[in-house]
């Protein structure tokens, strides 16, 4: 080993130590942030801040209000970049009350229309129980992933 290699190895080590300590310091904060965000989206998808929720399974709740129904998590790995996580709320007759994407890494400006804070595209599912949605041109993969995930979730909830 010569000086050239050692100087690079030591630099790489220092960089590694720096990043892992920063990660260790902020890990808790980041986890709290994403849990808070998922919970806020959960309340939003029901469309009511007063309705009670009863936990009946992993990421699966019964909605305790006059419309009733369930809210549950669906994840899709068919997106353009990483997992897409959604909350889907349905009422007692199996119609969709609402859908919210609470975690995704789709391309900003192209695939992020699935995020309710970017566009209201996701609202087109409300009140439906059947298939048949137009895909978004330029973001076919992202829209297909979300549409498939929603109907897969509907089918599973009906069983």
């Amino acid at each position: 080993m010569n000086y050239r290699s050692w100087s690079f190895i030591i630099l790489a080590l220092l960089c590694g130590i720096l990043i892992s300590s920063l990660y260790g310091l902020t890990r808790e904060q980041i986890r709290t942030n994403s849990e808070d965000y998922a919970n806020r989206q959960l309340l939003e998808v029901i469309g009511s801040t007063t309705a009670g929720l009863e936990l009946i399974g992993a990421n699966r709740y019964r909605i305790l209000d006059e419309d009733g129904g369930l809210v549950f998590q669906v994840q899709s790995n068919e997106g353009y970049n990483g997992l897409i996580s959604l909350w889907i709320a349905i009422d007692d007759s199996g119609n969709i009350r609402g859908v919210r994407v609470y975690n995704h890494q789709e391309t900003p400006g192209i695939g992020d229309f699935i995020d309710r804070s970017v566009s209201d595209w996701i609202d087109r599912f409300v009140g439906r129980a059947d298939q048949g949605h137009d895909h978004v041109s330029g973001a076919t993969i992202t829209s297909r992933a979300v549409i498939n995930a929603v109907y897969q979730g509907l089918e599973e909830s009906g069983q």
Binding site: L11, C15, L22, T26, I110
Partner: protein
């Protein structure tokens, strides 16, 4: 520090050698994130800070690293700052990170950073390298802001929309409504190319006259 040198860096970064309008570097984040003012500001400031910090560290290391490993060392330093920025945004600006997160990681591939590291910081003292990084970052930031403002006004008919993602609750009602709706084209990717093209043409027009 020679004031003549910093004077030159100021003109170079903001105008004569602007990374976006003249060097045409880092166009991918420029085109993709300039859909609204708040995302432009978020990415622009992050790039500015990373560029200044990486220039400082690379300049400090310029006599320690061997010539043969200088490029991997520079990329490593840049990657460390970008990763740190990514983690910090996730911890304190979570909702903004949801919007532009993918492009934070891509700052590593923004050629402006490696370009300034190799061309300037690895050959110059710390202070002037810091000024160079800061001015190049400002050059990138103002073009990004100009494009974000133009595209948000024409595309959505608003300005300063969603500013609370960056500035917190005090900017909750900052949105200025200019029109009820906008041209969809300006929000979509072609709008970014059109806006950038017009900006470059404008810049060339002014430069030729002066």
């Amino acid at each position: 520090m020679n004031s003549l040198v910093t004077d030159g860096l100021w003109r170079e970064g903001l105008w004569h050698n602007n990374p976006s309008l003249v060097q045409m570097l880092g166009l991918c984040p420029l085109l993709a994130v300039s859909g609204s003012l708040v995302t432009s500001l978020g990415l622009g400031i992050t790039t500015l800070l990373v560029l200044t910090a990486s220039n400082v560290v690379i300049s400090l290391l310029r006599n320690v690293t061997a010539r043969e490993t200088r490029l991997p060392s520079q990329i490593l330093v840049i990657a460390v700052f970008v990763t740190a920025a990514d983690i910090i945004l996730q911890a304190w600006f979570f909702e903004l990170h949801q919007r532009i997160g993918l492009f934070i990681a891509l700052i590593v591939t923004n050629c402006t950073l490696l370009g300034r590291a190799e061309v300037y910081a690895s050959r110059n003292p710390v202070l002037v390298s810091a000024v160079d990084g800061f001015m190049m970052g400002m050059g990138f930031l103002w073009v990004l802001l100009a494009m974000g403002a133009v595209r948000e006004i024409l595309g959505h008919g608003t300005l300063f929309h969603n500013m609370h993602l960056l500035l917190g609750p005090m900017a909750e009602n900052s949105t200025i409504e200019i029109a009820d709706s906008g041209f969809l084209l300006m929000v979509l990717p072609p709008g970014a190319f059109l806006t950038l093209g017009c900006l470059i043409a404008l810049k060339n027009l002014i430069t030729r006259d002066v």
